[in-house]
Symmetry: C2
DNA sequence: GTCTATATGTAGATAGAC
DNA sequence: GTCTATCTACATATAGAC
């Protein structure tokens, strides 16, 4: 049998164009189903049905449920990290960095991507799943920690009075708030109540992102203010 | 067969003392297992083993997996809500309310409970699960929304310039940050890095709670500041 | 690479003796 | 109320023809 799985050491030959397309469809389906039902709630069969592929094909390309999940998370993480780094460089080029501008560079690219491509909204749910469950700390460490560390070191220069731990804590608060805006429009609606549901069901408006960034920047600033 | 399940209309007779104790042990076990593995990751058999009860007993007292989960969440929600309302009244009695004091009344009781009883730390994970998954919106609406609405109306008086929606959003950011501190000490540690892990693995220090409250209060204040 | 068929385990739920 | 045994369904994973 041919146990050549993704994430194995290099293949002998490049896969065919058709095979690559199948692989992409499997990953797209996995992204949607994992996002909607969580890792344990999702089944390979659901994913196969969503991809319009036989069950065996999902195993072949996915390499098992855990690896499939890992792949789905890792796939877009490079583009996300790059968008964040680019935004940071753009901010640096256009004037002196501030807490607010650094946080904006970290957060806004995710919303910008989600606005164009609904797939990125599903991906946001995946990121939230990974962030919330210690079971996936390894994946988070691989896919997100390096960029987080980069931004954290920028924030350190802008808020030098904070201890390392307090800074990490403020950053975790900020990321949690960001993920809640990416994934929990429903909760905001339920509490905000009455008619004015936002149109794009699940997509944040630029104004909401402004608010998020301002909220977190203020939180960072007060953390430095001696207050503690 | 006797289909008398919890949450059914009233029973004919009060259950025996022994039966009540069994029920409590089942709920305790469910709380721990659901907290550790999530709803779909947990199994009735895991819960039975944790409770030291036969599988059938868990079904009998739990009334099925979904109802068991519902019961586990609902059980402590009354005490939590009461602690929050008491803290709000205490704050009101001891001086003029501020954003910071209201948020403190909402957040600190949860940490205070978790500090004494580790069960409350498990419960915090349950609350986070319920908050993160739209599948449980009904439970959240029943167990948490009323108290959230009470605090939100207090916050409305202290930040009258915010729109209803912006206020709800700031509140969701705050709750997300609170839950991240209750459940994600690991992430804070991973980003804060180096030695100084806090001792009580998973319990927040009062200083961390101070920081959380200050962070969120500052966020609320800036939301009102015209900034948007 | 793709697809059908199947192996093996384990899930939630229930029946019925005690 | 408690406990054992069991029903039925569906999970992941694999084998092997094409």
């Amino acid at each position: 049998m041919q146990t050549e799985h993704p994430f194995d050491r290099k293949r002998q030959r490049a896969p065919s164009k058709r095979a690559l397309a199948t692989r992409e469809r499997v990953l797209d389906a996995a992204e949607r189903i994992f996002a909607a039902r969580g890792f344990d709630g999702a089944t390979i069969r659901d994913i196969a049905a969503e991809a319009g592929e036989p069950v065996g094909s999902v195993h072949h390309h996915g390499g098992g449920k855990e690896l499939l999940f890992h792949q789905a998370v890792a796939r877009r993480s490079v583009e996300l990290s790059q968008a964040r780094r680019d935004a940071l460089e753009a901010a640096r080029a256009s004037g002196p960095l501030t807490l607010e501008r650094v946080l904006d560079a970290f957060m806004r690219p995710f919303f910008a991507l989600a606005e164009d491509e609904p797939r990125w909204s599903d991906y946001a749910r995946l990121v939230a799943l990974v962030s919330a469950d210690d079971r996936w700390r390894g994946i988070a460490a691989e896919c997100f920690d390096p960029t987080a560390a980069l931004f954290l070191s920028e924030l350190a220069e802008l808020a030098p009075d904070l201890t390392r731990r307090t800074r990490a804590q403020a950053f975790v608060f900020s990321v949690s708030a960001m993920l809640s805006l990416l994934t929990s429009q429903g909760r905001i609606g339920a509490l905000g109540a009455e008619g004015t549901e936002n149109p794009g069901a699940g997509r944040a408006t630029p104004g909401q992102v402004d608010h998020l960034v301002a909220f977190c920047a203020a939180g960072f600033a007060v953390s430095a203010d001696g207050r503690r």
